[in-house]
Symmetry: D4
């Protein structure tokens, strides 16, 4: 695989089924990515170091998925200037806690939050792709193709009688 431009991290390997949606979407665009588990709470030094070194490794966007008091995206954003995208993962309160913990960041440290769960993981990858596309013609072209095909797929739906 090509060099990792996008980093996908999650707080626990139990989040993997959901975060695979992000990986699959990036693969569809041929965008290199790395994927790892690191916890804001149980491995904080490693999380800080991971975030601090991501830019110098060539990563351009970080996607972080976590549930409950979902601090992972915010903690990573605290340690890097890179764009950080947060995916709230459903938990006891169906992800309402995860969504609020990810989105309600204080002024100064931004996290771009996507929807709860699988749709959010997929969209995080699509937004990362759009970010890369702002300075990469090839990716932009692939993204425009994807969007056109996606529209065509909706137009082609036939409802069963």
């Amino acid at each position: 695989m090509s060099k990792a431009l996008v980093s996908i991290v999650m707080g626990s390997d139990s989040d993997l089924d959901i975060m695979r949606e992000a990986a699959a979407a990036l693969e569809g665009f041929g965008i290199g990515y790395e994927i790892d588990v690191t916890s804001a709470h149980r491995s904080p030094e490693r999380t800080a170091e991971y975030a601090q070194k991501a830019a110098s490794r060539g990563v351009r966007v970080i996607i972080a998925g976590a549930g409950g008091a979902a601090h992972l995206a915010g903690v990573i954003a605290a340690h890097t200037w890179l764009p950080v995208l947060g995916v709230p993962i459903q938990s006891k309160l169906h992800g309402l806690d995860s969504l609020l913990s990810t989105a309600q960041m204080p002024g100064g440290i931004p996290v771009g939050t996507l929807a709860i769960g699988e749709a959010g993981a997929k969209n995080a990858a699509l937004l990362a792709t759009a970010i890369l596309a702002t300075s990469d013609e090839t990716i932009r072209q692939k993204l425009e193709d994807f969007r056109r095909k996606q529209s065509e797929a909706v137009l082609a739906v036939k409802l069963p009688k």
Copy 2:
């Protein structure tokens, strides 16, 4: 002002006090921006056209602020491949409706959602800056300076006795 790299739109001029936070942050980085009112509901053709032409005008990121059943960011995202950042603006339900309407997008069309209100508007500008910084050394340097000064400001706080 230099060419607009960021477009700030809002659903109503009553949202201006909040969205000015985004403009002010971009000005702090010397990043050119345009700012306008367009409604997903009351001027839908203009909103669609605005979104469709933004990339060719040179815009690289769109920030959309709206309240209530806040569709503006989602509708703009539907009409452009550019990264779209949504700012939920507080309303009757304190912005919970605006946050859910902005964040809970279906798979396929991403919106990166920030916090409700002023903090979210400021952070949308900071995230747009980070996106630009992924391909612009000068902006990256300014963003790292900003982040360092922001940390130093926290360290310098003296609580009154």
Copy 3:
């Protein structure tokens, strides 16, 4: 089937099981309808065109079902003067997000919102029927019959011992 007076649209074919309740209720009154999938986000031009042309095709009421950041009813209402009825479809947050995204429309573009899920889909059809009944004696008579029978059915319920 007779000419379509009611248009039923949904954002995804995964919503069909719920929206069939609307179709079934209209069939019970012998009211012609069309049913289709169109997405506010993934096929926005088609959605706009669909809404713009509905009145001239003879449609008198549009029913739109969608979930999550449910923009479909609002986007359709933005493109037509016809009465638009929204059905929030349950999702990660059990439809609370869908309900708020459908109901909390800004002043100027109305959407009449029904309950979350199957009950809402059925009631959207009943409200469309009532709208048609305001200018059609035959439909009004059928609706009054339906209501009377519905009452009688409640009166006839026998609880098991």
Copy 4:
């Protein structure tokens, strides 16, 4: 004033400031309306009789505004085949209780629910107008004019520097 085609009712005269928005919008279209206070709980017989006789008085749409455990729209809908539109009015819980009490009707008795508060009252009148417009060319023309002017007003907004 011309004959009342729309009936505006509210549960308490404390709701009048909000429900005036509905009256004002109808006046803008020259549509005759009646406006009254009747409570689902404190004057139930009168509310039932009001609803039962509305159609025969010539009313074509009923708009009901109430707050808290907002039963007014549902109780009126139980007593008439006419289209009933509900306006949730904010209370201790900012209208979340009013919205759920109005929107979550069981299958069989529909209420078309608008947004909480002033925007909802205005939109109830606009939806009533759209309902009347399905069978009245003059009203339809006025509604299309209103919508065009509303769009033009958004396009004409100039943000202060």
Copy 5:
């Protein structure tokens, strides 16, 4: 069975499994009850008449269970001076809508609201029993016995190792 002192009503026979908890608790005290289905929305006249005549039939407390926009308890309370107890039944939003629709009654018409679901149904019967016990020594004695045995049962719980 002895004369009905308590009336248990529900909006739909699908609520029976939950409302049986109320019936079972009353049977445990040997208190006569009637149990029936009547809908605030689908059979409003019957519901009104039922409530209006309950006191003269000898009923002393009415228990009403309903879900969603749960209007049944409030509508019954509007038509009788008898104490009315409401049981919110879970629905799409897990009973939050039912609870708010039952509890948030306006000043003037009280409903005593119990917990969502089975626990609420059981407790409605226990509260009805307590109400009867305020003027009936035999019932009071049985209630005190029940409460003492209930405490003893908690004290006797042995956790498995």
Copy 6:
């Protein structure tokens, strides 16, 4: 004043403005009451003793108002067989916490919960009155008079032009 048939308690004297609504309503019916402050948390022994002795003092219904993690009504209900009515008082979360803490009692110990705030305090008194009316003809007559006058007052409302 006549002997106290109703006991009004609240967790803090800051709740008095709201709980006065209950006292005023009882005074309107000439029903004797006592009113006091006792805390489930800060004076638990006194609260327990107060509840345990209420019945033998002649009290027939207890009304308890509290906010936040509102345990007062539940704790009182744990110590008496008397009917206990709970009034949730608004706090940081506008009374949603108070409402859930009062209403969601486990099976076995009932609390009849009224609306949040002033309306709930008034209705607690009205429900206490209805409970007393089940065995007191004079009170029943006064309650029916109150209800009739309340209806007439609604019928007499004249909206300003």
Copy 7:
């Protein structure tokens, strides 16, 4: 087992599966504990006595788990100066009611609230351990070991390909 330093109580034996997580964590540190069922509502005297005598028995921290209108932790805290930790247990509203009923205590009587469900039960034991560790070197050392191993376990996670 060694003397009980931690007391684990729960409102019902149906909470045992969740509260076992607390017991298991304490066992991992070799900390003596007692575990019992006592209800704030159904056995209030025993609960009060249990709390009042815990300190003199040598207990140093009390963990209380309960659901719904979860009063157990607050009631215990009212009867002891010992640190009390509350575990909200999920119920009809997924534990939102339990969380608010446990956390929103009035000033004067503190309860340290953990997360809803299993994670909260485990963390209550870990927080109790930390409390004991503030004055016990052996426990502190074990806790630091646990935390280090926990971090290492996260670092050692290998995602499947």
Copy 8:
């Protein structure tokens, strides 16, 4: 002042008015404390270092107050074995976001969460005092005195006529 046994930290000096309640309560017991501003997001290295060194400085309990996506308590807990108590501070969503972000921690890293706002700040200090009292007779005695006086103050409340 004596050596700091308790550390009070907050994410911003705008939180000081609320967190002063904690300081005042500790002063009432003569317990030494330090109070400082440090942000989980804007000064993450300093926050980590602060937490890592607190135990060796002699601190025994850390109290952390923050609002919105309130990560401060969780981030501090990630870097120390000391007991960490979190105070959710109200923000756009009245503190619901702050409460969920503080309380819903994953298993392994506990935070004892208090109520939203002033009551929570005061109670954090009282819980810290109780923790210290588990190994300090003098503090235990002062805490028991405080609790007795607090009860007496409730008993002494006289309601105005």
